[in-house]
Each structure stands twice: as structure tokens, then as C-alpha cells.
């Protein structure tokens, strides 16, 4: 946990009433809008661009030709259940190992941040329980992450095969 985040988070948590996700994110990324952040289930993907930056976008995982109820299918190598303590911060880096990785948030709040050269210099994506992130940025600067609030984040990590 960075000293700045610890200080800012304390300031947020000392506020009256319930702490919203927007307020928690604001402690990490000043000036963000709260609207639209209170979301759970959705799919996002991080990919590396030819400029060495990583980019986040939402996408529909529906694969053509799959028979309901299946909408997405891939070969997998392993699955792990990870616990990240509240406040834990991850430095910038690409997805390890050169294999695509699914991260499914079971509990807790996290934010993924990429240095994509957007107007503010960075883009971020909050992940709540039910969020699924496909990490596919194998090169370049990569992305970083932060666990928000004091609650631990529990995340399923599925490494895909090949």
C-alpha cells in the first residue's frame, strides 16, 4: 500500500456515512466521476497496442457458433483462488507467462489502471464481484492494480492453455 493511498484512503474512510466505490476510487484517482461505477457483472479485456501501451475495453464474450447455454469456451491450464489484502497495490507490468488469463472477482473491490495516453494520461476500470477481466497484454508497460477499501479481494485466476 502506498503512503499516499493510505493517507487518502484514511481521509475517505473518516468521512460520515457509507463509503461509496466512487469515493474509494477518488482516493486513488483524483477527479474521477462516480457515475457508472456501481457495476458488477461485465467483461473487460486488457490488450497491448503497437505503441507499447495497454488498453482496456469492455466486450461481449459471445463466441459465434457456440450452442446455448455456452457463450464462451477456451482450453484452460490451471485455476487458482487468490486472496489480495485490502489496500494492496500492484506495480505496472504486462501479463505474466505469455498466456491469456481470466480474473474473476468473487469479493472485494479492485481497480485496474493502464497508462494508455488518454486525456488524463491513464484509464482505469473498477472491478466488483461478478466482473470478469481477460488479461492479454503480454508486452509493453502493462497495467497496474489496486485493491480498494479494507476488505480483502478474492479473485479466481484461470490461466488459459496455449
Amino acid at each position: 500500500m502506498t503512503a499516499r493511498f493510505r493517507r487518502d484512503r484514511r481521509a475517505v474512510l473518516q468521512g460520515a456515512g457509507a463509503v461509496s466505490l466512487g469515493a474509494l476510487l477518488g482516493a486513488v484517482i483524483p477527479g474521477i466521476a462516480e457515475a457508472g461505477l456501481e457495476r458488477g457483472f461485465h467483461f473487460v479485456r486488457i490488450q497491448a497496442g503497437p505503441d507499447g501501451r495497454s488498453y482496456i475495453d469492455e466486450f461481449d464474450p459471445q463466441m459465434p457458433g457456440e450452442t446455448p447455454p455456452v457463450i464462451y469456451r477456451a482450453e484452460a491450464a490451471s485455476v487458482a483462488l487468490l486472496t489480495w489484502p485490502g489496500g494492496k497495490a500492484f506495480d505496472f507490468g504486462p501479463t505474466h507467462g505469455g498466456v491469456r488469463r481470466l480474473l474473476v472477482t468473487a469479493t472485494g473491490l479492485t481497480v485496474t489502471i493502464v497508462d494508455d495516453g488518454s486525456t488524463a494520461g491513464t484509464s482505469y476500470h473498477p472491478l466488483k464481484p461478478g466482473s470478469v477481466m481477460f488479461a492479454e497484454d503480454f508486452s509493453g508497460r502493462g497495467h497496474r492494480g489496486q485493491v480498494l477499501a479494507d476488505e480483502d479481494a478474492i479473485v479466481f485466476q484461470v490461466d488459459l492453455a496455449g
Binding site: 446455448p68 482450453e75 481470466l102
Partner: protein, 148 residues
Amino acid sequence: MTLEDPATSLSRPAPAAVPSGFHVVHLVTGREGRTHIEELDPRQASESLPYLYRSKATSVLVLRYPAGREFEWRARPGRSRLMVQLRGLCVLIVNGGAEPGVSYRPLAPGTVLLDDDTSGRVHRCKVFEDEDAYFMQVDLATSTGTSK
């Protein structure tokens, strides 16, 4: 929980009966051949079910079940799987449960269902009207061999 006729009498569970947050439901075959549903403390699961925490896998699927529909939940002998509920509210209806008859369990986002049922029975799952239900299914490389 036991129902005489879940197909006709099953109604939306009371809010207090709907699980919230991360929890682990274990579907397992008893020595008598019946299917049991267990609620697991995740801390306990880390010791007794280490494969929940790291395991070789063969495939991952994302499944979408339409709101208001009922579908088959087919046991897969010899192969365990891990289901993470992403969205929607369902009730799992287990045939041949702990007691002769039927058992059921509400499922909600945050539910992790560890399916070690090797009975070969076909269970059912009902999705309530509000919204489609989404699951991520991870097929594990081997059966965990867990039994009750």
C-alpha cells in the same frame, strides 16, 4: 431444505434465504450414493479442499441461462468442476438429496459451487424471472475423489 414438489411449489426465496457475498457450496456424493449439498467455510476449504485454491484445469466456459427458465444440472462422473456465479438468482434442485426426496439451495452472485457429484444423477436449476443467470465453469483436470 426439502420440497415435496419443487417444480410446482418452488417460489422465489425470501431475501433472508438468499446468500450474499463469497461463499462455497459443495456438491458431493455420499457413500450411500446420494447427493449432498454442503456449505463450506472457505477457511476450512483451504485445508480440506486444496484443489479449490490451485488445480490443473482443462477448459473454462461462460454459461448464460435465460431468466425464468429451468435447466438440467448434470453430474459428470469422474470429473470435478468449479462454478462461479456471476449474475442472476437461481435455485439448485438436487434429486436424491441427503434425505430421500429432493433438496434445494438458493444460488446468487458470489456463490462458488464445487461440484464433486459423481452420482450420475441429473439435477435441476431454476433461474428466477429478474435477469439471466451467468456462470463461469472451470472443468478440473481430474476428479477430486471427494466423498462424504
